[in-house]
């Protein structure tokens, strides 16, 4: 008789319609006032269509990883000179298992470099020698695979490092550009999605124009291990930069180093509001590639973005896959007015 459960399933099967519902939520008011954006989780009353409804509830433990500090933390390593006069930068990277809070109250059993996801942003200048002392204190074999030009035995692909063991990666850095490093131990999918990755910046010898620089690593977390991400973010914590907008100054050059390591999804993207950016794909050329407000990146792809805001106020940036944006990959630049800008 009343076979209501079956008809329910049929309806759901028939409907990719479900996703239409959320378009309504996004399409509405973008002109949210700043206090509303900043408070984020405080919304108790229904305020439909504004972005502070579509957000996680609560704050992460302040003692854990701080995505705001991570934005501008570039690690130049321990610097010395080789007899040849070449600059040597030495790093300590330790793989360890650690729970990370990827959304307020949601803890992910991660594998980390130096206890954080993403790992430290390694930065040097083209032609520097880097020496990375890697120790595996995790429960599984791991490695570090750097993108860039280096000898085969420095590639990290064929030398898994057993728990308790170590390895020293050493090579001259080239070419300049925005690269990344990640674990290359099989199954690579799990080793990456569990958190073993970081940005690797090689500056051109002549440098880039002076700018306010930030690193954004686009990532996702499959918290229930069903092969799909439940949480999306830049720099791990869902909606962090929406709840804590990034202050920048009107008229000031901003440079973003954007790396995509998102597992399971074919593409991720970066979209900027109220502005366009100059795009340098992989950052390996100083000629701009495009002038746009949207760039799509596959896993492992990265891009350097440069822009200057004419107008003051809050401007969103987010993945233009609306689903990713609504599951955490959304943030806000708070452009502060400069009187004579």
């Amino acid at each position: 008789m009343s076979n209501h459960k079956i008809s329910r399933r049929e309806v759901l099967k028939a409907g990719a319609l479900g996703t239409m519902g959320l378009a309504a939520g996004v399409g509405a008011t973008r002109a949210s006032s700043l206090p509303a954006l900043a408070q984020g989780d405080g919304a108790q009353t229904p305020t439909h269509g504004t972005h502070h409804d579509m957000v996680t509830v609560g704050q992460i433990d302040p003692g854990s990883f701080d995505p705001t500090a991570f934005l501008t933390r570039f690690d130049g390593g321990e610097v010395s000179r080789l007899p040849s006069g070449q600059l040597l930068r030495e790093y300590e990277l330790v793989a360890e298992d650690r729970e990370v809070e990827v959304a307020p109250g949601v803890f992910f059993p991660a594998w980390t470099y130096n206890g954080q996801v993403p790992g430290p942003t390694i930065r040097c200048t083209e032609g520097d020698r880097i020496r990375v002392h890697f120790t595996n204190r995790g429960s599984h074999a791991h490695s570090i695979h750097f993108h860039g030009i280096h000898p085969a035995n420095m590639d990290g692909a064929f030398e898994p490092v057993r728990p308790g063991a170590g390895y020293v990666y050493e090579f001259d850095t080239e070419p300049f550009g925005l690269h990344l490093y990640h674990c290359h131990t099989v199954p690579v999918k799990r080793h990456i999605h569990k958190g073993l990755y970081g940005a690797f910046i090689i500056d051109p010898k002549e440098g880039r124009p002076s700018a306010n620089e930030m690193v954004m690593v686009m990532n996702g977390f499959d918290t229930n291990f069903d092969g799909e991400n439940e949480v999306y973010a830049v720099n791990t914590v869902a909606f962090h930069y929406q709840k804590h907008p990034i202050p920048i100054r009107q008229g000031e050059l901003t440079r973003l180093y954007v790396v995509n390591v998102t597992e399971f999804d074919l593409l991720n993207s970066f979209h900027l509001h109220g502005n366009l950016f100059r795009l340098y794909r992989t950052g390996t050329d100083l000629q701009r590639y495009d002038y746009t407000d949207m760039v799509a990146l596959a896993q492992g792809e990265r891009a350097v973005l440069e822009f200057t805001y004419q107008h003051a106020g809050p401007f969103m940036f987010h993945a233009h896959q609306s689903e990713f944006a609504e599951l955490g990959w959304s943030g806000v630049f708070l452009v502060q007015e400069v009187p004579h800008a």
């Binding site: 008789m1 759901l12 519902g21 959320l22 939520g25 957000v55 996680t56």
Partner: protein, 409 residues
């Protein structure tokens, strides 16, 4: 346990002395209680110091949340009732609707102890007529989802609501049963052979209803939170009910002698009533969540389908002259539970109760089929497997099947 070996108090010992052939020693109550005392001691010990033994690793708890019901009380608001049916407490960290994180409030702590429930209120702009999925994310990152098959405003709980659901029950259960009772003059007029035929037909109807109730119960088991042991609930309802009815029948027979046809008719009405309670629950819940519309087609379907239930009640009364009041009472016993069920289902749908009621209905009907079988044995006519009667049995099931096609839900 030294207290177990303590000498029995004198009065107990003297009482034991009067009882013949009882072995001496500790009093009977102590013998019965000793294992329970030991069990209690172990439980206290384990609660204090944890399990004693070789448990090398603390495995992560298996979390289990069940979304029991999602109400849409007003535009832009969802109310989700969630139950923790797992072995350990669970903390709800975040909520997503249609793959988007959403703000929400809970009517209590975010941590749900075992068997605790919460209402999660979400200010979400749901879309009329479209499906939605609500997903709860726990602190360990596990997800538990509930579905809104077709979003529509949940009926407000007021007099009009109660009236609507009463009418739903009246259409689906009360009217059809009473119409069916009007066959009494007909079954009284037909010959004895044909009464046997209609009795067989009644058995056929009931077998179909019983199987339907059991199937519904087993289907709802999937939605019952684990700790409530849905399959065990079905077993309790489906076996406990015929046992209880049989015991009552025995007790009654001892006091009043032979079972009267009226008693059998009453039993049939009770069985059908219990089945209809479950059916009312399902209808009420489906209507409240927008899964069925009370369309003309559905009402006609239930009318035709359930009218045969009335025929089943009056057939054993073919040789009798029941009063009008008795007939009304029988009809009410079979039909009115549909209204009760619709109310319960509409107000507060719970897979636990739905499962239990359907199981009880299935058990009651099984007992009724057994009683009818015995009634056949006492009648002087041909047996149930005589060609005409076997045809009646089959016809009963076919009628239910054919009219069941008209119920689209």
């Amino acid at each position: 346990m030294p207290e177990l070996r303590a000498p029995a108090p004198p009065e107990a010992a003297s009482a034991a002395a009067h009882a013949p052939a009882r072995p001496a020693g500790a009093p009977l109550w102590l013998k019965g209680l000793a294992p329970l005392v030991l069990l209690g001691g172990l439980v206290v010990l384990f609660l204090r110091v944890g399990p004693v033994g070789v448990f090398l690793q603390a495995f992560p708890p298996v979390e289990q949340l069940t979304v029991e019901r999602i109400r849409l009380p007003e535009r832009g608001v969802m109310e989700v009732r969630v139950v923790n049916g797992g072995p350990e407490s669970v903390t709800i960290a975040q909520v997503m609707v249609d793959d988007a994180n959403w703000v929400h409030t809970l009517d209590g702590s975010r941590t749900l102890e075992r068997l605790a429930s919460r209402i999660v209120t979400i200010p979400y702009p749901w879309v009329e007529g479209e499906p939605h999925t609500v997903t709860l994310v726990t602190s360990t990152g596990l997800t538990f989802s509930g579905e809104v098959p077709v979003a529509t405003l949940s009926p407000p709980v007021d007099a009009r609501f109660a009236g609507t659901f009463a009418l739903l029950g009246v259409y689906a259960g009360v009217i059809p049963v009473f119409i069916g009772l009007l066959w009494l003059p007909f079954v009284r007029a037909v010959s004895r052979r044909w009464i046997d035929f209609f009795l067989s037909l009644t058995i056929g109807l009931l077998i179909f209803l019983g199987a339907d109730a059991l199937e519904e119960a087993l289907e709802t088991v999937a939605l019952v939170p684990g700790a409530y042991q849905g399959t065990a609930l079905v077993l309790l309802g489906a076996l406990g009910t015929p046992l209880a009815l049989a015991a009552i029948g025995q007790w009654r027979a001892r006091r009043r002698g032979e079972r009267s046809p009226l008693y059998v008719a009453g039993l049939i009405a009770l069985g059908i009533g219990l089945h209809n309670l479950g059916e009312g629950l399902a209808i009420g819940a489906s209507y409240a969540t927008g899964e069925i519309a009370l369309g003309t087609f559905l009402v006609i379907g239930f009318l035709l389908h359930n009218t045969t239930e009335g025929l089943g009640i009056v057939t054993p009364l073919a040789d009798q002259r029941p009063s009008l009041r008795t007939l009304i009472a029988l009809g009410a016993l079979a039909g009115v539970p549909t209204v009760l069920g619709a109310w319960i289902g509409g107000f507060t749908y719970s897979p636990v109760w739905t499962t239990l009621f359907f199981a009880i209905g299935a058990g009651a009907i099984a007992q009724v089929v057994y009683e009818l079988w015995r009634l056949f044995g006492r009648r002087a006519g041909a047996g149930l497997m005589a060609p005409l009667n076997a045809a009646g049995l089959l016809a009963g099931m076919l009628i239910m099947y054919a009219t069941g096609l008209l119920v689209p839900a």
